[in-house]
């Protein structure tokens, strides 16, 4: 696979451990010649510190002694379980809808394509709380779509676990769409054309040729979306509310614990950190290092 040059490609690269061909050789740090020049090296190191120090602080301030006690409570496990289930479900929803959407944006010419792309990636920059309010207006019991859902099917999404999945998918799907679209654009369309000349329908070509070709991009996008869904807070608390075991995910539990019991909040944060690191590392080994 060739390296896509847009933003999503960059995200894919990062998950793969950086674009290898462009890696700078630092013979001796700060040394002249081919080493990293100081005006780049210093901000780069500040950047590393800025991103890493808060995480270290979390580890330093962690109440290690009371940790087992804090983490074995039923509420923590409930919240963690709910978080994992909801983030995975939201990723599944994003895959089912997001991959075809990415294909449409990358492969089909239609008027207003740029506008559609801008609109579907809007949740990336939208404050999540605004997303939650928007979801209430659309899918709430009194929302423009939700009203019909309620009266026709008796389905109400707010305050339910399904509501959490909806909120997380709304925020996380654009990550997947952008990532997959970038991979699709970089994938050579001639393979699909070759499949077509051999008599495959466009859907068969997509299923048998394109999909395996872009699998690493889909995996990277899914990981990004999953991670985003796992950390989702604003849209969830606004749209789905907060009830232990039903809609209280880890980030909500962390936020509410911070009000009353900062030590518990740090402990919960550690769990979330460990889960994120474990999943990223695990997936990296399986999918990201190939290619």
């Amino acid at each position: 696979m060739t390296l896509p040059s847009d933003k999503s490609g960059a995200a894919t690269d990062t998950l793969r451990g950086g674009p290898r061909r462009r890696r700078v050789r630092t013979g001796g740090i700060g040394g002249g010649g081919r080493g990293a020049p100081l005006p780049l090296l210093v901000p780069a190191l500040i950047g590393v510190a800025f991103l890493v120090v808060p995480l270290i602080a979390l580890l330093v301030r962690a109440p290690w002694r009371s940790l087992p006690e804090l983490l074995t409570s039923a509420e923590v496990w409930q919240a963690l379980q709910l978080s994992l289930v909801c983030a995975t479900a939201a990723t599944a929803v994003s895959l089912v809808i997001g991959v075809p959407l990415a294909w449409l944006l990358a492969r089909v010419e239609f008027p207003g394509r740029g506008l559609v792309r801008a609109l579907v990636t809007l949740p990336l920059v939208l404050p999540p709380v605004v997303g939650g309010v928007a979801l209430l207006m659309a899918l709430g019991r009194n929302g423009i779509v939700g009203r019909s859902l309620d009266s026709w099917f008796g389905i109400t999404l707010p305050f339910t676990t399904a509501g959490v999945v909806v909120a997380e998918a709304f925020v996380a799907m654009p990550f997947l769409v952008i990532s997959v679209e970038g991979t699709l654009r970089a994938a050579d369309p001639r393979f699909e054309e070759a499949a077509a000349t051999l008599g495959a329908s466009r859907f068969t070509a997509f299923r048998r040729v394109t999909l395996p070709l872009i699998a690493p991009g889909i995996a990277a996008g899914a990981v990004l979306a999953w991670a985003r869904a796992l950390g989702e807070f604003g849209a969830t608390i606004t749209f789905a509310g907060n009830f232990p075991g039903r809609t209280q995910t880890m980030p909500l539990a962390v936020y509410l614990a911070l009000q009353s019991d900062p030590e518990a909040a740090i402990a919960l944060s550690l769990v979330l950190l460990a889960v994120s690191v474990a999943v990223l590392a695990g997936l990296r080994d399986r999918w990201m290092t190939a290619g």
Partner: protein, 277 residues
Amino acid sequence: MTRTARRTRRPMQVAALGATALLTLSACSSSDDSSSAKSDSSASASASASDKLSGTVTVFAAASLKESFTTLGEQFEKDHPGTKVTFSFGGSDSLASSITGGAPADVFASASPKTMKIVTDAGDATGTPATFVRNQLEIATLPGNPDKIASLKDLTKSGLKVVLCDKEVPCGAAAQKALDASKLKLTPVSYEQDVKAALTKVELKEADAAVVYKTDVHAAGDKVEGVEFPESADAINEYPIVQLKDAQNTEAAKAFIALVQSAAGQQVLTEAGFLKP
């Protein structure tokens, strides 16, 4: 999670800076204390003596105080030209934890002695907090009360979507107290992070009812309908106010607290539905 870490780290530096600034400031302000105390007593009637007040006074106040304190803030700015009152309204518990975390504020008005105690225990308050109003709970229902809710017990009917404040927040603690006192078990659909969030869910018709303060029902106008319940007498919240130790503008902070406690201030608060202390 990085947000948590950064939030606690940075305010500490700010607090350290603030503390050194205060050391130098307190030297000047102590000499002014006597004159300002005099002006405070007349502040509510006429502001002529305290015209030298200036700068910004930052008030952290319980979400339920939003409407009445905003009115009082405007009045304060009018009484003392050159001053500006900025508010941060939120759940009392989250305000308290941001104050102990080093958030720069001059005055803290909370919705319960318990959340105030977090601040006083941390040594972040100056003097003892004074109760300035009390507030009673009320049930907020949809306009016209379509579910015919008449009592606290009616909220336990199955199929009814009720939201409560989180138990850490004063309105949630009070609601729990009222429910416990009448031996009722209520399973809400959500525990909201502050009273306004709970009310909003009813205003948006996402929930059928919420247990909030009388003042919130009052402030929401005809978007919700209030239902009083006798058990609320068992759970009346006292609202304490205090000047904070790290206050940047101690004079204005004192004057604002004086305004809240003055006859004019109390009138604004009782008109909003608060009870006299």
